[in-house]
């Protein structure tokens, strides 16, 4: 029997057992079940609110990721090239890195209010460290003879940075970006969940996936819709990783790296 047949059989068995278990013995008020999850998903896709929330969350992630990548690459290259800067900044970076992004939520809310910008801050914070660390490590590992070669071939500072340092470090930077993107997607949901929605207090915020979940749980009390969103979040995480893997492949032409 091919492997996929076993896998599908097991998966179907688990779903069936779940459905039967909740229907026969469970309380549907407290436990979601597959057929109702499917119905809720179809409903939310049809109404368009799931798509709107996904677009909202993703655009926050992309904006935050852009900030994190720009900052992380600049800082990473700088501390790899200038040792004194490394000695000065590394303790700070390591301390900040050990503070989990969601711990910053109260501070972010204080600074930015319950807004999309607070969520963007949290996500950028989560994403910036893997990019800094991978960039600096990659640049440190580059063969310094290549810098010498570039300089003796007439390269100025800009050419050296772009065509040697960044190009040479790019495969590892993209590995960092891939990790960062995973962190970013996890923390946008966390940030949106934690900030939730405040209705009627004039705190206008466009609804991302996390906020949609809070609304679904506390306002609509729709457990099955909630599980539908959880599945969507997982699916998007997989898609993001696939896209990042393609970028990684692009940075590694055949035979370019021994």
């Amino acid at each position: 029997m091919p492997r996929w047949v076993t896998r599908i059989a097991v998966l179907a068995g688990v779903i069936l057992a779940w459905e039967m278990g909740v229907r026969l013995y469970g309380n549907p008020q407290r436990f979601p079940y597959p057929s109702a999850v499917a119905t809720a998903l179809v409903r939310d896709l049809g109404s368009g609110r799931l798509v709107v929330a996904v677009v909202q969350s993703l655009s926050r992630v992309l904006l935050a990721f852009f900030f994190a990548a720009a900052t992380g690459i600049v800082v990473g290259v700088a501390i790899a090239v200038f040792r004194p800067l490394d000695r000065a900044l590394s303790p700070i970076i390591d301390s900040l890195r050990s503070i989990a992004p969601i711990v910053w939520i109260p501070m972010a809310v204080l600074w930015f209010g319950i807004t999309g910008r607070a969520a963007i801050f949290i996500v950028a914070y989560a994403a910036v460290f893997p990019i800094i660390l991978n960039t600096s490590e990659a640049v440190r590992r580059l063969d310094r003879r290549l810098f010498d070669a570039a300089l003796t071939l007439g390269a100025g500072p800009a050419t050296l940075v772009v065509r040697v340092i960044l190009r040479g470090a790019m495969p590892t930077i993209i590995v960092g970006a891939r990790v960062a993107m995973g962190f970013a997607w996890a923390s946008i949901i966390a940030a949106e969940l934690a900030m939730g929605i405040k209705l009627g207090e004039g705190a206008q915020i466009s609804i991302g996936l996390g906020q949609l979940m809070v609304n679904t749980l506390y306002v609509e009390r729709d457990l099955n819709g909630l599980v539908g969103y959880m599945l969507t979040i997982g699916l998007i995480a997989i898609l993001i990783d696939l896209v990042m893997r393609q970028f990684h492949r692009l940075a590694l032409p055949a035979g370019a790296i021994p």
């Binding site: 063969d143 010498d148 070669a149 003796t152 071939l153 007439g154 050419t159 035979g255 370019a256």
Partner: protein, 266 residues
Amino acid sequence: MTDSIRIEDVSKTYVSPRTGERVEALRGINLTIQSHEFVAIVGPSGCGKSTLLALVAGLLKPTSGRIFFDGVTVSRPGPERGVLFQDYALFPWLTVQDNVEFGPRARSIAAEERRRISQELIRLVGLCGFEDKYPSELSGGMRQRCALARMLANEPKVWLMDEPFAAVDLQTRMLLQQELLRLWGDDREILSRRPVMFVTHGIEEAVFLADRVLVLGRRPGRIKATIEIDLDRPRPPHRNSPATGALVERIWRLIRDEAAEAIADE
């Protein structure tokens, strides 16, 4: 003949990053290299011969003394002083052709002209058909040919070569030596030749290639002797003439004791 490189009373002291100890790599070097002259530098390990080359390249700064190239003080690396590195230092993410075009591109030469330069040089060093290969796909000898073409693409006014053939096998090395002489202009009139500083461990290589061999001593690195190689050019491909043998023997005697010391130190 005019002076191309003038080294005036140059010393170089390092602080070892491991031990914090001060190491005197070179002391009181005085040297002039003329416009069409091939100078080889030999000496035991640790005599500072590669340091001397890096100083002329502008990759290191002298602790004291001055270095002039065409009458101008050397303060930084520049494309008019081409460098060939022992470990090739090819960009692993660029193809042969893009490696060769790196210099012209850094100097903002138009794409068409770059292409013309790289194709001509790739043909000259015998890498036709390998334009789109990456360095990792080439043999050691081919990598060094690629590095040579990359250096020549800037039409440097002087060639600085740091043990360029040390990492290739003996037969490849002998072929590369002949090709180097051909590219340099061994069989052409003297005015077409560039000044060369060629650092090597190989005494026979030095005698085969150079017009003049400098013998460096160690601790501190200093010039112990200068040997004129008055063999005819073009140099014949067979190398074991009595005259060559005598020169090699003479240089070896100058180095032998210190070479043994260097080995004992390691």
